[in-house]
Symmetry: C2
Subunit: 149 residues, 2 copies
Amino acid sequence: MLFMKEQNPTKTVLYSIEHAIKEYRKISQKNIEKVVSDITVDQCLVLIILNENKNVSQIEIAKLIFKDNASITRIIELMVKKDYLIRETNALDKRKTKLEITDKGKKTIELLTPVIHLNRKTALDGLSLEEINMLDKILDKIITNCKTV
Amino acid sequence: MLFMKEQNPTKTVLYSIEHAIKEYRKISQKNIEKVVSDITVDQCLVLIILNENKNVSQIEIAKLIFKDNASITRIIELMVKKDYLIRETNALDKRKTKLEITDKGKKTIELLTPVIHLNRKTALDGLSLEEINMLDKILDKIITNCKTV
DNA sequence: TTTATATATTTGATATATCAAGTAAATTTA
DNA sequence: TAAATTTACTTGATATATCAAATATATAAA
């Protein structure tokens, strides 16, 4: 059994991690689409982060949701086009941008907050607090292992 | 504490899952690049799967590595261009393709197999068998939760 | 055996991932 | 203060993700 896991790339716990996050993203996107049709999971995350802290920079957003700066630039670009955000330059540091949530963005947050909570509840249904903490702890170890190489 | 986790999307265990798999993919790609410069993690997985079972269809490959059929089409396209694979139509079922690994592909597998094992070892370093099994079990629950909605 | 349906793959459109290189502003150093 | 370095963000190129629609072949039903 263990030998199998070693040989076949798709039978490693690392691929269960990949599998899990992909399934979670799928139902998340599906449930979000039921309520708001023109937004993605990632764009939704950007909204929520900005809603919690008006002054985060793009780099900070990138770090929070584990994305590349370039990706954030493009995600925000699309959100501005779709009237979720307004982008201006930060007067205090002109290298930075100042991101503001539009009314449409605010309404969207209200609509989607319960959906996101439901998604998490659904994904973690039946797991005990101990299991969730264990999961978190083990994943942190993996993250550290990968980073410190 | 728990309340925090509920509120901030980036403080949920689900984002630790995302974080972990992204870090793992990063070192994997880095280590692969040290040995073979023109191949990606995903392309490498396709090679290994084909090497283990000559007769898998594209759909089966897609399922094994949790990807869309369309993605597999394009991944294979690139691998054919780079002389890792030869694509023909399957004589028994002309809807399907017959994928063959080239000599370059075979050499690449030999070069990269130890790298992939090292990547896994690195990521899981310091984790006990119990922890790995626990992780697998919990992730399976999450996968099931997300699928059965 | 036609017709209908299912299956395997492809293609198009759009979003995101990643790296490298570029730009502009801010900060540090000489 | 001028030059060098760092920082924040953008842009280009290429790979992958995802859905929907299209194609071609195979299988089932009438």
